[in-house]
Symmetry: D2
Subunit: 325 residues, 4 copies
Amino acid sequence: MNTFGRKFRVNLFGESHGAGVGVCVDGCPAGIDLRQPDFAADLQRRKSGARGTTPRIEADAPELLSGVFEGKTTGAPVAIIFRNENTRSGDYADLLSHPRPGHADFVAARKFGGYADYRGGGHFSGRLTLALVAAGVIAKKTLGGVTVTSTILEVGGAKYGEHEALLEEAIAGGDSLGGLLECVASNIPVGWGEPFFDSVESLVSHIVFAIPGVRGVEFGSGFAAARQKGSEHNDPIVASCGKTGTNRAGGVNGGISNGNDLTLRVAVKPTASIGAPQQTFDFAKGRVDELLIRGRHDACIALRVPVVLEAAVAIALADLMLLNS
Amino acid sequence: MNTFGRKFRVNLFGESHGAGVGVCVDGCPAGIDLRQPDFAADLQRRKSGARGTTPRIEADAPELLSGVFEGKTTGAPVAIIFRNENTRSGDYADLLSHPRPGHADFVAARKFGGYADYRGGGHFSGRLTLALVAAGVIAKKTLGGVTVTSTILEVGGAKYGEHEALLEEAIAGGDSLGGLLECVASNIPVGWGEPFFDSVESLVSHIVFAIPGVRGVEFGSGFAAARQKGSEHNDPIVASCGKTGTNRAGGVNGGISNGNDLTLRVAVKPTASIGAPQQTFDFAKGRVDELLIRGRHDACIALRVPVVLEAAVAIALADLMLLNS
Amino acid sequence: MNTFGRKFRVNLFGESHGAGVGVCVDGCPAGIDLRQPDFAADLQRRKSGARGTTPRIEADAPELLSGVFEGKTTGAPVAIIFRNENTRSGDYADLLSHPRPGHADFVAARKFGGYADYRGGGHFSGRLTLALVAAGVIAKKTLGGVTVTSTILEVGGAKYGEHEALLEEAIAGGDSLGGLLECVASNIPVGWGEPFFDSVESLVSHIVFAIPGVRGVEFGSGFAAARQKGSEHNDPIVASCGKTGTNRAGGVNGGISNGNDLTLRVAVKPTASIGAPQQTFDFAKGRVDELLIRGRHDACIALRVPVVLEAAVAIALADLMLLNS
Amino acid sequence: MNTFGRKFRVNLFGESHGAGVGVCVDGCPAGIDLRQPDFAADLQRRKSGARGTTPRIEADAPELLSGVFEGKTTGAPVAIIFRNENTRSGDYADLLSHPRPGHADFVAARKFGGYADYRGGGHFSGRLTLALVAAGVIAKKTLGGVTVTSTILEVGGAKYGEHEALLEEAIAGGDSLGGLLECVASNIPVGWGEPFFDSVESLVSHIVFAIPGVRGVEFGSGFAAARQKGSEHNDPIVASCGKTGTNRAGGVNGGISNGNDLTLRVAVKPTASIGAPQQTFDFAKGRVDELLIRGRHDACIALRVPVVLEAAVAIALADLMLLNS
């Protein structure tokens, strides 16, 4: 299922080397300003082109198929599509017999009985995050004053800004790097989320783990909390609005937003596609053999994830907002 | 909403100091052996009594209200209730005006307009995990050969087994400790999960973050992946069944189970209730004031979480199994 | 799945001859007055005892297990159970091999691999409507000023009130009668429901067809509309609030409530259990053979359905109200 | 929400006079033959052109955007779009102030705060059934040997085939006619559906009432059952496969398919758009005034509904099939 949300519902579709990718946003409120140029900034942030990102460049022009009339959402589902143009499917011809480590090639072939579109990862491709970012633009507008901001904390273990040498080294060696991101959402009122299964953390982590390459999600003090004492961890409430003196809880108590910033950190694995030869199973030969991956890839996909992470968090929050209004 | 799952659907209800807690498991297949004694082992594991756990002891005898006939599930919803017996509600009388830091007292009062049952945390209480463990017993039986096992890795930052001194110190100081847990699920076939929103990680993290006190969830190499290179992180496939030489992916590629063990680690915060006095807002006085928490509590709730974590993961996997059968 | 609703979510469980039946209402707003006596009137209306209804009499006292504190809903799930007391399971011993026509005996045995609780229809029993009526009481209170009222129009084809002779004749002959009901919901504001799949009619018919014995549902002019002209069928709007001069649409246009009364009619089949001998397949003998049904039954189940129909419609409307608030 | 289904999930989008209409089918199994020509027959059946149908003719060529590779479904979401070409939006300019009786103009404007696309009914238009029919084509293929067939029983109260004079009269008078349809689904195995809320009738009626203009749905003997005796209504089982001697139940007992044909009848109201002048509220003038509807319309929309009804029933059955496999 490629559907997320109970009231603000997002449906992704498309493939890396098919006609295109798209999204249908069902449940978006009526009356929100929405025109094609509104997508430009976030789509540009997601775009490749910077050092360490893939040389495959697409125009990525969204077509608003439905749900918008005279520059406003109508309350009907908003469908948006992006055409694929710059595809080189020949690059992927042998993935069926020799699946790439760290990719979905093997599981997709098995899960879908050999019918999956394997070209460029098909439906599993990171290109689908283009549609996710588009949905995120709508979610951010739906959220009104609630802001969602992501930043890169680390690349390959180095502080962001001090990572250039590591990145150059990885590129030179045909290797790739992981990264650590932070996301902060501000101005969330007290009371979003439900106890237990629809806790804020449950819904946010659900969609964040849908982003390709995410390996871990933590809120507030996160994994460090496992090593703390209660006297170090508890956030004293310091004002009647619920403001706390510290924010180790990351803005959530008992699954419910507490009026402080929602804070989370996300670990992104190193890009699975690397230039160096790898040993992995060759199903045609029936034995492990060397694989050399062709195609164009990001040396550090984490560099492009911030805007995707914002989109994911914004979608979860838009759903929470509508569920709690 | 206290509902999780699309085919194996779990519904929690109850309060810490009300009539009891319970669960309704809808979608459980027919023909599974299920009798009251089947719950004993896991309920015992969750029970308090060990050093560092609350002195509130309950019989915790499950009553199977429905969905079972002649020792087998019937395919109809299985409802189970646990009566509360050992409650001391007087302990919680002043939480309304002086909410406890790190608890849901404040958000519950605000979200539910002052109508929440505040006694012992009410519906937000960790006592609800009793019902979750009961549902987990059914999920484990539904899973057949798929096994789910949790262990404690660390308590308060110390390796489990070497943590006794830290724990005694915390107890003596009226303080509490966090903990780090691991969960491994074995024998999952290739192909469970969906690309993007219903990825294995999405569904598992969704329910794991419903466990009170969880601050972080990571799969496979987790946060360490952010500091790795692709050449260090990729798992080479070494056999036609999908077995990989390493398991940094934690058993999932592209959101789909790859036939290797599902592995995750979970950070549990230190128990919010501590014996030491805390400064926090007193709504009756309109200013920060000292709070001294009474009631009976765990010095390290993480010690009781392993079986709860197993239950949560088993429920997500049972749903995935039924969705993929 | 025994779950209905997206925000006001109802979960039924239980069996005719097991420990009892119950319901969990998830998503009920906080602050609604709710005490045990509030259920008495509707439960009494559902109760048997009148001419043409089963002599099985149960106390039907609801136990409010959760979600209520000091006489108000808390916002947490409300679980209610009813114990079974007056059961005679011996009456149903041979249903496994000789399933009753018009009942679920055969399909239940096949669907659930022989594990279904067959006593008195098990989970398929009309006794489950007890739990539905209890949920309906909560739904009606949630709806505030929106009222839901059902009446019997016909019994066995005779106008209600003129049906006594027919009913006596059916009872005397060991036979049963069907009935026709109407339900009207008033004071629904303009705008509930969604275009297409979550139209008011879609959601209402969904839950109304969950009532055992319902064979047809029509809104407004219903089946008569198939024989009308547009000039006879269209409802002219006569006021700015949306009030129409006629109400052939039954209160809904394009799936959305239009501010007029929601009106529907429901056909209830004659009780399947009849005293007269019937020819049907005997799986033990491998051939058609005579079946004589024992047990206690209603000669006209339609007589007890009005309050069940109100409950079903109220639940759908409560969900629509919360989704549209 | 424009989403239906739990495993075979259908999402409609689009408007009558916008860029186009479309559908995203999520959860379609992999390996189903699907090419553009497969849609031709059903789309042709839905097309207008026959006597009594609108003169607006569209090419209605489906573009398969995703989820199909080398002529087979891949298991990924299948998105299909149809471009609008033959639109005359000027025809609808005054609907905002003078909403048409029997249409959604008024409720759409109110529900969506004046932001709805009103041209040709916008998202509420019958043109959306084009996308529904496309989804139905996929559903029918997913169903394999289960067949779904609809026929027209009556037009304007006259037997189909004897209705021509009535139709000509209606056309001549600028009026419209309703119709009665039947749908039969064969080869459904025993056991689809769930007790209560996910009964076969619940799911089928849910989606059938999403078809614009449907006023009533009945299964098996339907409303006639309300006037029958149990001895007349019960279907004796006559073979071990579950075959019954009669089929008054319409193929369902206790909400579960019983192995016999699923049969339902559907009442379709007369087309709301008529040529004759109508009195209805004019919001610009603040009083009732005469409305003359321009635009191109069907004199009897029921004539085009059979293939839409098949699509709706097939979608519900495909979901039931996947849920029960």
